[in-house]
């Protein structure tokens, strides 16, 4: 991914024009114009997404797959149309491979409970990396408790990069499942997922990629990657919250039992026997989040109208600028200096706890994430309780980087 980024010629990218699509960016915070540097936690939504959701709610809403009446058909068309939009966005073979979930966390839990739990037993191994978000640790710990299998963790170096050789050494015939982030949320590290997938599959393991932080910053082609499962969230891709996608290879999904039971995931129900619905609905029990799906499809339209590669190149320029600017500040230590990074910049300031830093930046209108970023093992590795994290999206500008640097100066004054 990152290799492609550096090769791309910088296309014209008008971030000022992009900003006008995001009304929330006009907010004043504590007397200052908002400087939103927390897109890795949740990105903002552009007008086309807000309008698509409003349009669905105003003109097309009823329950899906149920009624013969006009609105139910309109809702079904909107919902299934969104599925097809998503299939194209990640280049899946079929909409049967696109399961709507609440978000990345639910996608991982679905695979943990419906794929791993019925198959794994004592002696089997699940392999993750030391960079994972809690959502890609805890579901596997639960499976280990349920089945007696073992969780293995591939280590990282001080730059925040996966030690690929160590990862390869941990692979063995007992490795049944590998679950890895595509991009680390805490440090921004881009993992070599294609290589990881190939190596794991050569041992017969299936691979789940947590793509929550990758999809907003790169073109993801699930077939080119060869991923068995790939999951991501809508709200980090300029779409709504409460909607996400689990991609799975059809033959794997077809062989899995349902996860949750309920309406929409069945064909026939009697007290003696229930037959389950076909893919993808087998995994979508209950009335789904239709407006969320419509909003996510609109977000994908929006991202492609700007150009995924153009957004990525713009973000990389901001990341490089911010990295260079912060590196010049003597009190700042940048945490995570991987060769390939997405637009996430984690840092600490000497003598100022990240929590205090977050408050001071907020007083200047600058929104950053502070804390352990739901990646406590990463913090432990670096011997830190927390970091501050600035992350950049399509609407950020060089001015935002300057505001961050200025606000850090303010923090140094307060704690002088």
């Amino acid at each position: 991914m990152a290799a492609n980024l550096s090769l791309a010629a910088p296309p014209p990218f008008d971030a000022e024009r992009v900003r006008r699509d995001f009304p929330i960016l006009d907010t004043m915070v504590n007397g200052h114009p908002l400087v939103y540097l927390d897109s890795a936690a949740s990105s903002q939504r552009p007008l086309p997404v807000l309008r698509a959701v409003e349009d669905y709610e105003t003109h097309s809403h009823a329950n899906v797959h149920r009624g013969v009446h006009a609105l139910s058909q309109a809702a079904t068309a909107a919902y299934e149309g969104a599925r097809e939009r998503i299939r194209r966005f990640i280049n899946a073979r079929s909409t049967r491979e696109i399961i709507f979930v609440r978000g990345t966390t639910e996608g991982i839990n679905l695979i943990a409970q419906a794929y791993a739990r019925p198959r794994l037993r004592a002696g089997d191994e699940i392999l993750i990396s030391a960079l994972e978000h809690h959502a890609n640790i805890v579901p596997w710990q639960m499976v280990c408790e349920q089945t007696g299998c073992t969780l293995k963790v591939a280590p990282i170096n001080r730059r925040g990069e996966l030690l690929l050789e160590e990862f390869l050494k941990l692979l063995n015939p007992r490795t049944r499942l590998v679950a890895m982030a595509h991009v680390s949320n805490a440090l921004g590290t881009v993992l070599p997922v294609k290589r990881i997938i190939e190596a794991a599959q050569s041992f017969g393991a299936v691979v789940l990629i947590d793509g929550a932080q990758a999809v907003p910053h790169s073109r993801v082609d699930v077939r080119a990657l060869g991923a068995d499962f790939y999951t991501f969230s809508g709200h980090k891709l300029y779409g709504p919250t409460g909607i996400g996608v689990l991609y799975g290879r059809e033959e794997l999904l077809a062989a899995m039992p349902p996860w949750q039971g309920g309406g929409d995931m069945i064909l026939t129900v009697s007290f003696e026997k229930t037959t389950y619905n076909e893919l993808p609905w087998k995994f979508e029990a209950g009335t789904p989040n239709m407006s969320g799906a419509v909003g996510l499809a609109a977000a994908m339209d929006y991202v492609e109208s700007l150009g995924v590669e153009a957004i990525a190149a713009h973000e990389q320029r901001l990341l490089q600028l911010a990295t260079a600017e912060l590196a010049r500040l003597p009190q700042i230590e940048i945490i995570g200096s991987a060769a390939h990074k997405a637009s996430v910049l984690s840092f600490t300031m000497k003598g100022v706890h990240p929590h205090d830093l977050g408050t001071i930046l907020d007083a200047e209108g600058v929104a950053v994430r502070t804390g352990h970023h739901c990646a406590m093992p990463v913090m432990t590795f670096f011997g830190l309780p927390a970091t501050a994290r600035a992350s950049f999206g399509c609407y950020n500008t060089e001015r935002d980087v300057a505001s961050l640097v200025q606000a850090l100066g303010k923090a140094r004054e307060v704690f002088a």
Binding site: D356, T359, I360, A363, G371, H372, M379, P385, V414, F415
Partner: protein, 147 residues
């Protein structure tokens, strides 16, 4: 929103030079406090003389508000009995959470925490040490959490 109200000189001083910092072993009471949202942890150790806190220390790692609050607390409660400490905690709690609470004269230096109430997400930083002390006095040994 005035940062100078939050980060008063007394707060910055106690953050930089926390008083009564360290462990007491053996202690008559000890407890650990944890704020899972920000990862802050602190331990409080007390030596009792009957109902009176004869000595107190704390150690841990946290933001300026939590460190300064713990440092100020240890100075304020040393030599006081349980009843007086409970009354003081009530006053601190009111100071941190009631929008109009006028600083009570009994608070002394603790009144420097008044600015925290303008920053609701930071109230837990300031109150963590008091909940931890409470646990150390009530249970002898415990772990408490802000969540």
């Amino acid at each position: 929103m005035d940062l100078k109200e939050l980060y008063r000189d007394v707060i910055l001083d106690h953050n930089r030079h926390p008083r009564n910092f360290g462990r007491i072993e053996p202690a008559d009471g000890r407890a650990e406090g944890h704020n899972p949202l920000c990862g802050d942890r602190l331990s409080v150790f007390v030596v009792l003389d009957g109902e009176r806190v004869a000595d107190i220390r704390f150690e841990g790692r946290g933001c300026a508000i939590s460190t300064a609050s713990a440092s100020l607390m240890t100075e304020a409660v040393k030599g006081k009995d349980r009843t007086a400490i409970r009354a003081l905690f009530d006053k601190v709690h009111a100071l941190l959470t009631h929008p109009d609470a006028a600083p009570d004269g009994a608070l002394g230096k603790l009144a420097a925490l008044a600015g925290v109430r303008e920053f609701p997400v930071r109230v837990k930083c300031a109150s963590l040490c008091w909940h931890t002390l409470n646990a150390a006095l009530e249970h002898g040994a415990a772990t408490i959490s802000t969540e």
